[in-house]
Symmetry: C2
Subunit: 369 residues, 2 copies
């Protein structure tokens, strides 16, 4: 069954999808606009001047009432509020911001929306930002420093109150733009390196070390790694480094490793595990770049009747729900993703001094190791 692109040309002429006939937007189809930066001029909007006139007061008085700032009599207040409501006044923050300096916009740049890590961070940050009356402007960099730079440029054009970025690695120009803008900056999710201003996260190297220590303590000695290209995910590379260096301290090195390209993480985990196992059957434990891949590996084991962890131990990263509720809870590391977003946003809004905040992590001793 495949019901694709059944496109009804106009809602108005389609009785099966009754549209509200009183809605003016439906009656004005608009024309094609190939050039992007020229959308319809908004319908004539009510301005503060009109509200003031309708209320019979001066502009500044109306402004004061509407912002509840400064002084005015109860009577004026009443009249202004009534007029604003009656006219359907929606303040123009663009004008407001220009006049007063300082927007309520906060720029957030994340590498990806596919990866739950970043949507969690975004969720945490947005909750705080929103509660404080600010608004999040989000950009997705696709793990590309040049896209990050471009997004920083265009966001800075909106004079955001602050900026939040993922990680500590940025182009020189990005750093320059940011520091020249005077906006506060929070760098999230990584502690392993120098930051610009606020740094909130946990040590990725640390999580790798912890994972290695855990597997070593459990007696595993023939360990493999399954991950992705580190150029794309720098923090996974830091975890790998921590993991490998801890193995080295125990006089060990990875038995085998596999780096897969793009595509589904779960799928990559499944096929990668199969590949590793057939290439290096002696492997007794696998460290994955993240839980998605680890779950894929777990699925391979289930499908191929490989005993976990007796024959093969699995260790992930992130503590996703799907691993937590698997028949055998996945051994992994819980990272404080939502708190990272929340804390970063809060410190920014509180005007906290430049500092590094380590939110730590927690090793989850599941049933797959």
């Amino acid at each position: 069954m495949n019901v694709r692109l059944r496109l009804r040309r106009n809602a108005l002429s389609d009785p099966s999808n009754p549209a509200d006939p009183t809605d003016p937007t439906l009656t004005s189809p608009g024309t094609a606009r190939p050039e992007a930066v020229a959308l319809p001029a908004p319908a004539a909007t009510v301005t503060l001047t009109e509200v003031a006139a309708a209320a019979g007061v001066g502009e500044s008085t109306a402004s004061r009432v509407l912002r509840n700032h400064g002084s005015f009599s109860a009577a004026t207040r009443e009249r202004v509020l009534e007029a604003a409501a009656r006219l359907g006044y929606v303040p123009n923050r663009i004008a407001g911001t220009l006049a007063s300096a300082g927007s309520n916009l906060i720029g957030i740049l994340i590498p990806s929306l596919t990866n739950i890590v970043f949507s969690d961070v975004l969720r945490g940050a947005n909750a705080v930002i929103d509660a404080a009356g600010y608004q999040a402007v989000v950009g997705v960099t696709d793990y590309d420093p040049r896209r990050e730079e471009a997004l920083v440029t265009s966001m800075l054009a909106w004079r955001p109150a602050a900026m939040m970025l993922a990680g500590l690695e940025h182009s020189e120009r990005t750093r320059l733009l940011l520091s020249a803008s005077g906006a506060r900056v929070a760098e999230l999710l990584d502690l392993d390196g120098p930051g610009m201003d606020l740094v909130v996260g946990f040590s990725n190297e640390g999580t790798g070390e912890a994972a290695a220590r855990h597997l070593l303590a459990r007696g595993y000695r023939r360990i493999g790694y399954l991950g992705r290209d580190f150029a794309r995910d720098i923090r996974a590379g830091k975890r790998y480094r921590g993991f490998v260096s801890t193995l080295a301290q125990a006089g060990l090195s990875l038995v085998d490793e596999e780096f897969l390209g793009s595509g589904s993480s779960v799928g990559a985990g499944r096929t990668g595990t199969q590949a590793l196992l057939s290439r290096s059957p002696a492997i007794d434990a696998l460290y994955f770049a993240n839980d998605d891949m680890a779950i894929g590996g777990y699925f391979h084991c289930l499908a191929s009747n490989i005993a976990v962890p007796e024959r093969l131990a699995l260790f992930g990263h992130n503590a996703l729900d799907v691993g937590r509720f698997a028949p055998r809870p996945l051994s992994t590391v819980r990272t404080p993703r939502v708190s990272v977003g929340e804390t970063g946003a809060r410190l920014l809004l509180d005007g906290a001094p430049a500092q590094v905040v380590d939110l730590g992590f927690e090793l989850i001793d599941g049933a797959t190791s």
Copy 2:
């Protein structure tokens, strides 16, 4: 192991986290700002006037060059561009927008960031929006119409070029604000009801009907349902309606059903399946509100040695990767989430006439039914 809240007070005094000593933002700690709407005034920024002066041309000429609009000599162009680069000029879009009317902001309101459905839509929309030189301002409504209304209000204050909302259900005032604003509106992910302007999605009732037809065709007759509160997820309710009405047409009704509260979807799926099965052991197939829950149910079956689909068939919704790569691929419905975001954004930017676009869905005949 639990490494929590190790908070280093100041990056500058912490040798273990070497900060860039040349970065000025690090040397000015800033002071506490309890009142949110008063972040630091941005550092003195270069204005167009200064660029023009430095280049020895008039403001309007500089403006024309910088926007590459209107006419100017190659020589002037050179001088202006050089001056802008030298001074590190970052155009102020707030002023630009105020002067010219029409921002490049597009407001996107989604119910949740936890649910991959909405991050997929956001991802699709953002890709198009971004490529066209616009910027996404996102808000999360938490499935609450009043929060949606509040967010619409504050977004409209930024005079967005367009707005994108999830679903067709909105408060009367939300509708009013939107249509009064003159901004184009796209409602996403649902077709089952009247829309305001652009409507892009698929029929949720249709997916429910398809799921029911599929299970009936497979011979299942004792069917149960596992989901969440419909007040929260209206579209899940529509799927349920489609499902149940199709069963009714076959003279059947649900054997049992369970509605779980909040918390992990996978976890809810697992415990809910267990509950349903012990309460109504005769159930031979389970329809889930989404794949996360279905995977939870599948995990329960794996853990309890319940043969899938021989003893119990499972049917989900959304076609997530995790179901696709499970030992037995999950039977589900693939929804065009990313396309919904992309298409909505593109139609908005193209100034397409008000219409309903049905992107359809695809039933995935997996191995769990």
